[in-house]
């Protein structure tokens, strides 16, 4: 190096007093909640079988109508196995909330009641439904008030979705308190259901707790508070359907379909099953055209993946489903233990036999490739830290005007050094390419992760449903801080 300094090789160095070492690190603990050691928990005996959340009971006898009652209310439930009951929020008294199950084409009526001490909404994440039923921050439901959400499930929309509150600035808090649940839309001609493949919903969430087991939130003025603002609030305890390290049993040769939902505020999962590849068959908006064998699959916040798992292990043995390290972080706030794999659940290979192993269909359904021939409008949306196009969310502002019927290409560009998962309300889109690399196969998405310093291009068709729609980063703390914009379709 020939300039500035006599350092001939290597980095230029700037000395700060060694005092920074002790000035800096103890501050990390200042004002932070007390964390219980997660490693001790994951070492607990993991014998509890994975439970499926209850299903919302359909009270309608009419064909093609699903009518259910959903209440958000404070509850006292244990957050940990064997833990004491603590104050949480719950849909119909359970965490996760009961699963909404319906068929393509069904008319759905949800009689919702807000018994929380604060305003809320229910956002039907990923469903292509009218803006009036979207449960966005524009339509809060006051404490004590009821609201009927009504919509019809489009044909071709079969897939895995989820619902969660989406009130202004309080989404992260309310989800952390326990408000989230799954949605399964069935297709009449589902090729896997037709073969009797066992279907399991796995809602992944994480949380952190105080010494009493109640959800803990950092003081925004503390160092942990600013880390949470940056990274989003990551929990040190991982749950599947509210259970810690549950067990799924699988018989030799048996095929299971796992619908995985990432309901975590900030944790991106890189899911892998020790000893076998996963057969990736679907994403946010349902099945792919062809199954894809993968060693692991990334599930960003609010994304869903469907995978097939075969009972191929030695009877009596176990395999771990793990969250492998994935560096979504800025260097400034990257957790010290980010490179540690975390256990999600245990798969137990049973010894009873399957008489007739199910073949995996080569074609699952038809998914057209992105058709850009009708594109007239191209936009670039820039995500920086906490901002979209340099702005914070303003509910009284419209950031993008689009025409009903238009097909558009959006380039979503992330100009900062951490990942931001981009979610568009109300419309499914297809990812054309990532950093110019064409997507290897087509799928329907409502959320696309945009890794640090990269961009994705999406194709979206505003075929129906005029109104105001949100688009935002689905790291909940970013969303609550205003990393969101408003699209008006008319």
């Amino acid at each position: 190096m020939q300039r500035h300094s006599p350092l001939a090789r290597g980095a230029r160095a700037v000395l700060f007093a060694a005092v920074i070492g002790w000035v800096w690190s103890p501050r990390l603990l200042d004002g932070s909640p007390v964390f219980v050691d997660a490693r001790a928990r994951s070492a607990m005996p993991a014998s509890e079988a994975l439970r499926q959340p209850p299903t919302l009971q359909n009270t309608s006898s009419r064909r093609g109508v699903v009518e259910v009652t959903l209440t958000a209310a404070p509850a006292r439930l244990p957050t940990m196995p064997g833990g004491p009951p603590v104050n949480v929020y719950a849909f119909n008294g359970s965490v996760p909330g009961p699963t909404l199950e319906a068929n393509e084409g069904d008319s759905v009526i949800i009689h919702f009641r807000n018994e929380l001490p604060e305003p809320t909404t229910v956002h039907w994440h990923g469903l292509h439904i009218p803006a009036s039923a979207d449960g966005s921050p524009l339509s809060p439901i006051a404490p004590g008030k009821a609201h009927d959400y009504r919509f019809r499930l489009a044909s071709g929309s079969a897939g895995t979705y989820w619902y969660h509150p989406h009130p202004d600035r309080r989404t992260g808090f309310q989800i952390a308190m326990g408000l989230f649940g799954g949605i399964i839309v069935h297709a009449p001609d589902d090729p896997l259901a037709a073969k009797g493949v066992a279907d399991k919903l796995l809602i992944l969430s994480d949380n952190r707790f105080d010494s009493n087991g109640a959800p803990a939130f950092s003081d925004p003025r503390s160092i942990q508070g600013s880390i949470d603002l940056e990274n989003g609030r990551e929990g040190d305890v991982l749950f599947v359907n509210g259970q810690v390290m549950p067990t799924i049993s699988i018989r030799p040769g048996e095929l299971q379909r796992w619908r995985i939902v990432n309901a975590s505020a900030a944790r991106i999962y890189r899911v892998a099953l020790a000893g076998q590849h996963l057969i990736h068959v679907g994403s946010d908006g349902g099945l792919f055209e062809h199954p894809v064998e993968v060693p692991d699959v990334l599930v960003a916040n609010s994304e869903r993946v469907e995978v097939l798992v075969r009972g191929s292990g030695t009877p009596g043995e176990r395999a771990l489903l793990e969250d492998l390290p994935y560096d979504r972080y800025m260097p400034q706030t990257r957790p010290a233990d980010w490179a540690r794999a975390r256990q999600i659940l245990s798969l137990r290979y049973e010894s009873d036999s399957v008489t007739q192993p199910v073949e995996i269909p080569a074609v699952l359904r038809h998914v057209p490739p992105p058709d850009t021939s009708r594109v007239r409008v191209r936009r670039t949306i820039v995500m920086s830290q906490g901002l979209i196009d340099g702005k914070r969310m303003d509910m009284h502002r419209v950031d993008i005007h689009s025409r009903l019927g238009a097909t558009e290409i959006w380039t979503i560009q992330n100009v900062v050094g951490m990942d931001h998962p981009f979610h568009l309300h109300g419309f499914h889109f297809q990812i054309i390419d990532r950093d110019g690399v064409p997507e290897p196969f087509s799928s329907w998405k409502d959320t696309g992760n945009v890794p640090k310093h990269s961009s994705i291009r999406i194709l979206v068709h505003f075929d129906d449903y005029p109104g105001k729609w949100m688009y935002h980063c689905h790291i909940l703390e970013h969303e609550d801080e205003g990393m969101m914009g408003v699209l008006q379709v008319r």
């Binding site: 001939a8 800096w24 800025m330 560009q413 310093h453």
Partner: protein
């Protein structure tokens, strides 16, 4: 990245050199700035005088010394395109003297050219102005006029994300508005975009807020500067008449 970087005992010298650059730049006499800037580029035709003034300031403040390739290497490859080799990065912290000592942060001179993906292309001139005046990272700070240096007031962020050391913004923030605006204009409009992805600078989780508040070496003074004279200064003594 850590392995292979050799640190010598000259680290402190480096810091001193950079500090001196910053100081001398900030105390530059501004009177003839525009004229000098224009005079330096006689062949630039009808270029915007604001851009040319920005160019003069960028050259004379040594921006190229860190952001590449050299302090006044305007016509050299990589002018202001940011770090292009690991020897341009900085080590911040005790590890500069004692290898392995913690904390140890690598910071990287960023690409100042208006490339959309890797440079300043996606930031407005106001965001660049705010970076120079308030030390806030343009990607983390809304594109709004800032009127205060108190967190949470006057659009100054509640949790400011400061530019990493050794960027000497604390000195350069004292330049008049028009000068900082001219620098932003030059970077955005007077440079060709160069695609060069620079690694993200490391730093503490509060983005140096505590260090700029408390660390003796980079503690912020006051902005605007305190009235003259401070305890370190004196009223100029009238020059004694020449003796005969």
């Amino acid at each position: 990245m850590l392995s292979g970087i050799r640190i010598s005992g000259y680290a402190a010298v480096s810091a001193a050199v950079i500090g001196a650059t910053a100081l001398s730049a900030a105390h530059y006499v501004r009177g003839a700035a525009s004229e000098a800037g224009a005079a330096e580029s006689p062949a630039s035709g009808a270029a915007d005088p604001v851009v040319l003034h920005g160019r003069f300031l960028v050259i004379s403040h040594g921006c190229g010394g860190c952001h590449g390739p050299t302090e006044d290497g305007v016509s050299e490859p990589g002018w202001l395109a940011g770090e292009r080799s690991p020897d341009q990065q900085f080590l911040i912290g005790p590890c500069a003297i004692t290898p392995g000592a913690m904390p140890c942060f690598h910071t990287h001179p960023r690409n100042l050219t208006p490339d959309d993906e890797t440079g300043l292309g996606r930031f407005t001139e106001r965001q660049i102005f705010n970076a120079l005046r308030y030390g806030v990272r343009p990607e983390d700070t809304p594109d709004v006029k800032i009127t205060s240096t108190i967190p949470g007031q006057g659009n100054f962020p509640l949790h400011p994300h400061y530019l990493a050391p050794p960027m000497p913004w604390a000195a350069w923030r004292h330049m008049p508005d028009a000068d900082l605006q001219a620098i932003a204009a030059y970077l955005k409009r007077g440079l060709k975009p160069v695609h060069n992805k620079v690694p993200e600078s490391e730093g503490p989780p509060d983005f140096w807020a505590d260090e700029y508040k408390n660390m003796p070496q980079i503690k912020l003074g006051s902005y605007p500067a305190p009235p003259f004279p401070t305890v370190n200064e004196r009223e100029p003594v009238a020059k004694a008449p020449a003796r005969h």
